[in-house]
């Protein structure tokens, strides 16, 4: 279809000049407004040259389901009120787990259109207020409620079927999945805002120590793989996926400040530019062209590469939507880092690790950093913002010429896919 392959350009260039986020985790005392307020305060505290809140002209908030998680709808103006931003116009964007990836695009387009110069974009989700079974129900409302959910499908279940198809078609094994989890926890251990700020090795040692404290025999796990292959430590969730293949249930918020690029210099000497952006819609798995790939992700990536005028080999670092370990492998293929079926071997070879040639999910990814669904898309942007500015601390990619980063954000099982490419200013 011509509409898919048409080359698009922004009406004018857009830059990110500030970022803020909460830690991700379970915060029983914090509601959405508290979380988003904390993320916004973090942004204000970290602006290089400050921002007058009254200069912000417009806002977009990614939020999946405050209605079902907290019994609170109409979330965006509530946040604006809480932050003292009224009467600035704000709009909530809902595209499941890609809500804030889509919100970011709305903000970019609002500036590119010439209508606004300074726009706040963020995301928030408060999930831990419900027990796990009810969270599973809420997340399932992002699948097809008439023809998928009544068959008993859950989100882990849908990605379980994708995993089985990938294992049948290629040489993907359960060990490949576990190595994604081990890598992302290693990165998460270097991220103080990560929900799992700990390696799987350290988690294993803690469990051993706890058993000994309780007077139980010390579990005989030899290493991380041995630990992860023990069904008592790592139970099945949706075969072939186990607990450590799944991103956690999280609370958290994230936000970035976008400005017209011609104004960026008055906010920071180190802006990060939006080089390309793409978004596409996809069909439920039983209607998808392929069971081992998300077509919308491939299309969104092609659009973003085309707008940026770059190819996958030009990208120095990526944050991809690893809601499940398998999803990271599929994503690494869909964004063109590896050929179809080659993503698993790339993990084995360490190519996607922090010091590999194609670093993926340096933040710890959704798996270790946490996945407050509406906040995840912008949190990915924030990781790339810090990487390109050379301020990612112990998880900084060791590449002095870091120039281009990519984010890949998925809603549902590819019903929405958003890919953004950022360039160091």
């Amino acid at each position: 279809m011509a509409s898919i392959t048409k080359k698009r350009q922004l009406g004018r260039q857009v830059s990110i000049v500030g970022a803020g986020m909460t830690s991700f985790g379970a915060f029983p005392d914090l509601a959405s407004r508290d979380l988003f307020g904390a993320a916004f305060q973090d942004l204000l505290d970290n602006m290089d040259q400050g921002i007058d809140v009254e200069d912000i002209e417009c806002g977009y908030l990614g939020n999946y389901s405050s209605d079902l998680f907290e019994g609170q709808g109409h979330t965006a103006p509530l946040m604006a009120d809480w932050l003292g931003m009224t009467p600035t116009p704000v709009t909530r964007v809902e595209n499941a787990c890609a809500s804030s990836g889509s919100a970011l695009r709305e903000g970019v387009m609002a500036i590119a259109s010439g209508m606004y110069d300074i726009v706040l974009v963020g995301g928030v989700e408060k999930m831990t207020s419900l027990p796990t079974e009810e969270v599973t129900d809420v997340l399932a409302t992002a699948a097809d409620g008439l023809y998928e959910v009544p068959a008993g499908l859950t989100f882990p279940g849908i990605f379980g079927t994708i995993t089985k198809a990938h294992m049948d078609r290629y040489e993907t094994s359960l060990d490949h999945l576990l190595r994604v989890a081990i890598k992302n926890h290693r990165n998460g251990a270097l991220n103080p805002k990560a929900q799992f700020n700990v390696t799987i090795m350290d988690l294993m040692e803690r469990r051993k120590a706890r058993a000994v404290e309780r007077g139980q025999p010390e579990p005989g796990w030899r290493d991380e793989m041995d630990f992860l292959n023990d069904p008592r430590a790592n139970p099945w969730i949706a075969w072939p996926l186990r607990l450590f293949d799944c991103a956690p249930i999280s609370d958290g918020a994230s936000c970035v400040l976008l400005v017209a690029s011609e104004l960026a210099g008055s906010f920071t000497e180190k802006p990060v530019h939006i080089a390309g952006t793409g978004q596409a819609s996809g069909r439920p798995l039983h209607e998808a062209e392929e069971l081992t790939s998300l077509s919308a992700a491939k299309i969104a990536a092609a659009q973003a590469y085309d707008m940026a005028g770059v190819t996958p080999k030009d990208i120095d670092v990526a944050e991809v939507h690893d809601c499940f370990t398998m999803a990271e492998i599929v994503a690494s293929e869909d964004i063109g880092f590896f050929a179809p079926g080659e993503g698993s071997r790339a993990v084995d070879e360490g190519r996607t690790g922090l010091t590999g040639d194609r670093p993926i999910n340096t933040s710890g990814g959704l798996k270790a950093k946490g996945h407050p669904v509406g906040a995840s898309g912008v949190a990915q942007i924030i990781e790339i913002f810090h990487q390109l500015r050379g301020e990612a601390g112990p998880r900084q990619v060791p590449n002095p010429d870091l120039e281009l980063g990519l984010t890949h954000n998925v809603g549902g099982t590819g019903g929405t896919c958003v890919v953004n490419i950022l360039r160091r200013g």
Binding site: T136, Y147, G152, I162, I237, W239, H286, E287, L291
Partner: protein, 138 residues
């Protein structure tokens, strides 16, 4: 009520399934494309000239999962950590795919469930409140 006087809706689809034990999709009269779901418009050629089409209910297992962390509706049906259930994407013999609960297999032993195994629609265990498709080994 004759088939083609029924609206192309989920309500009609589930009524066919529950009342007549029929898996009814639609066929595009303009381009011949089949859809296993009752769409009022052809997704291939966008024609609105579609008609009901009865599927045989025979197919093969394309891919599957065995779910232990069950949603509340499945917990009510007795499934969960100790009794995982199998859900599959089914290749219908006419071409389109559907998602379905698979009964008559052991969700605790996924290694015994085989991709490609023949399946057949089973309407005997339909949950009238939650009428998702159910298939079993043929």
């Amino acid at each position: 009520m004759s088939e083609n006087s029924k609206d192309f809706t989920g309500t009609s689809y589930f009524a066919f399934l529950k009342d007549e034990n029929k898996l009814m999709g639609v066929r595009c009269r303009a381009c011949g494309r089949l859809s296993a779901l009752p769409r009022p418009v052809c997704t291939a050629c966008h024609s609105g000239d579609v008609e009901w089409h009865e599927f045989t209910g025979r197919g093969a297992l394309a891919t599957f999962t065995c779910i232990s962390a069950a949603p509340s509706s499945m917990v009510q049906r007795g499934y969960g950590m100790k009794n995982p259930y199998c859900v599959a994407v089914v290749d219908l013999e006419e071409g389109p795919r559907v998602s379905a609960l698979i009964v008559g297999v052991d969700g605790s032993n996924p290694q015994d469930i085989k991709t490609g195994m023949p399946l057949v629609l089973d309407t005997s265990e339909l949950d009238p409140e939650n009428p998702g498709l159910i298939f079993r080994p043929a």
